[in-house]
């Protein structure tokens, strides 16, 4: 039984990875755009934040564009719905969990890759100092990717079209990023925005990734816990929604 599950999971992960890589447009643009913006805004942030400007430029852009990648996550599931393949898979021996994990793992890997490349670019090209260990940074990247993945899957379970998904993820991404301190440091934001900031997952992501690159293990663990809880809550919502089946089965 376990061998069957592992084999089906392998099949689904491989299949979904192939599908993802054949449609790389979003991923490429969400890699190139933040790199350009990091270079453009880095001098501005350095002038505004002596000592922390480069990190703000890199992590702010990373968080904003990783939140924008929610549309990639959502699209991965929504296309299954529009292609009617999700229900076709449900009629196969693959379980709902296998299908969801098979769908999510490749997207998770691509989110980790996106953030890893942006951090590498930030440290090597923009000059962001990194004193944290590789393991700490990887932990932060994985937790943030998990939270994004869960939120994206939950979103895909509720929206009805690609247009709705684009609207929700674009507006949501900008709101989450701006409120979370990805565009301007929290300390420079108006008082009301500072008060609301902790409601945004972006706030915790900026804090966690900033702490990871500077080697502050305590802050990383604390913020990672918050984001992991957000991810679990969104994931539970997604499982509930998707477990009931996507698409209209009446006939």
């Amino acid at each position: 039984m376990r061998a069957d599950t592992a084999r089906r999971l392998t099949l689904l992960v491989r299949h979904n990875m192939v599908l993802r890589l054949r449609d790389p447009g979003h991923l490429v643009s969400y890699l190139v755009m933040p790199m350009v913006l990091m270079l453009v805004f880095s001098p501005l942030y350095q002038a505004a934040l002596p000592g922390g400007g480069r990190a703000q430029a890199v992590i702010g852009m990373l968080v904003m564009f990783s939140v924008l990648s929610l549309s990639v996550v959502g699209t991965a599931l929504l296309t299954e719905r529009t292609w009617r393949t999700w229900n076709r898979l449900r009629a196969s021996p693959a379980s709902g969990v296998e299908m969801l994990v098979g769908k999510a793992l490749p997207v998770f890997a691509l989110l980790v890759l996106q953030q890893g490349l942006l951090l590498l670019f930030g440290s090597q090209v923009v000059g962001m100092p990194v004193t944290g260990t590789f393991a700490l940074v990887l932990l932060a990247v994985c937790v943030w990717s998990f939270a994004l993945l869960a939120i994206g899957v939950a979103l895909a379970g509720f929206v009805r079209s690609h247009g709705e998904l684009a609207a929700v993820s674009d507006v949501g991404a900008l709101a989450v990023s701006a409120l979370g301190g990805a565009l301007a440091p929290i300390s420079m934001m108006p008082a009301w925005a500072q008060a609301l900031a902790p409601l945004s997952p972006g706030y915790w992501a900026v804090a966690m990734l900033g702490a990871a690159v500077s080697g502050d293990t305590g802050t990383v663990l604390r913020t990672a816990l918050v984001l992991a809880l957000v991810g679990v809550a969104a994931g539970a919502l997604a499982c509930f929604r998707i477990g009931r089946g996507i698409g209209d089965l009446r006939g």
Binding site: L11, L12, H15, W83, R88, R250, G251
Partner: protein, 275 residues
């Protein structure tokens, strides 16, 4: 073997299945016909485990639908394919999910590709294939693992005659190998070609079931007499006697005679329109 007994399924006030009973023996092709909304697709979704019935009992080779998913091949009414994958990748995915491995999987893919004549475009993306080619890929994905029960929901909708022939040939072959087949269609001549027994669904239940000859027995055919200035059509259950009577009673020159036996279309119309 499929045993679906007294199935019920309601969507709010709509009773999509209402004591729907259908049994298909191994090697049997059951043609399931009926108007849109008769419950055919809901039945396919319930048997394939996509919908939970409100009542009734389903067994596929003695197993409940979820436990029997490995035994089942489904070609849904609407295309459900990955446009960016190739037919080969699609068949390998579904074959693999249904338990085929390595060499047996490769052999099964080649075999079904040949049977449904998709070998020539196995490595092109599904999205660039014609509608008929996509239909064949969908049917191939349902059959690649040689299921014991094959559910085909209007598999030939919108396809050309050549595609239809290859699909029918593949379905017959599966039945000859022992699969029970439930074949939903609006193209009734296909059922004659398949040698299928027929089940007519209406308002969520099977209202008529039997072989084509059993169901057609007693249905009116038609006698057509063509004269110079008119054509007369008379529905009749005894075309020969009716023709003799018509010829005796006419003084005009007959230009053409046609005796038409009842067809499945007549059955469909008479049953589906019955009040």
């Amino acid at each position: 073997m499929l045993e679906a007994l007294c199935l019920t399924k309601a969507f709010g006030p709509v009773h999509a299945l209402d004591q729907f009973t259908l049994v298909a023996e191994p090697g049997e092709i059951v043609g399931l016909v009926g108007h849109n909304g008769a419950g055919k697709t809901t039945f396919a979704n319930v048997v394939s485990g996509l919908l939970r019935p409100d009542g009734g009992r389903i067994r596929v080779n003695g197993k409940a639908p979820r436990a029997a998913r490995r035994l089942l091949g489904l070609a849904p009414q609407h295309l459900a394919l990955y446009p960016t994958a190739t037919p080969r990748e699609t068949l390998r995915l579904f074959g693999g999910l249904y338990g085929l491995r390595r060499r047996s999987l490769a052999l099964a893919v080649d075999e079904i590709a040949e049977s449904l004549r998709i070998t020539g475009f196995l490595d092109r993306r599904v999205g660039v294939l014609s509608g008929g080619q996509q239909r064949r890929v969908q049917a191939a994905a349902a059959m690649v693992h040689r299921p014991s029960l094959l559910l085909l929901d209007e598999p030939t909708a919108g396809v050309d005659p050549e595609t239809r022939q290859s699909l029918l040939h593949a379905v017959r072959a599966r039945a000859e190998q022992g699969a029970a087949v439930v074949y939903t269609t609006h193209y009734l001549p296909e059922l004659t070609e398949l040698g299928a027994s027929i089940a007519v669904a209406r308002h969520g239940r099977i209202i008529s079931r039997g072989s084509a000859s059993e169901l057609l027995d007693g249905l009116p055919g038609e006698v057509r007499l063509a004269f110079d200035d008119e054509e007369v059509r008379v529905p009749t259950t005894d075309p020969a006697a009716t023709l003799a009577r018509m010829l005796t009673g006419t003084t005009k020159a007959v230009r053409g005679v046609d005796l038409r036996q009842p067809t499945l279309d007549d059955l469909y119309r008479s049953v589906a329109h019955a009040r």
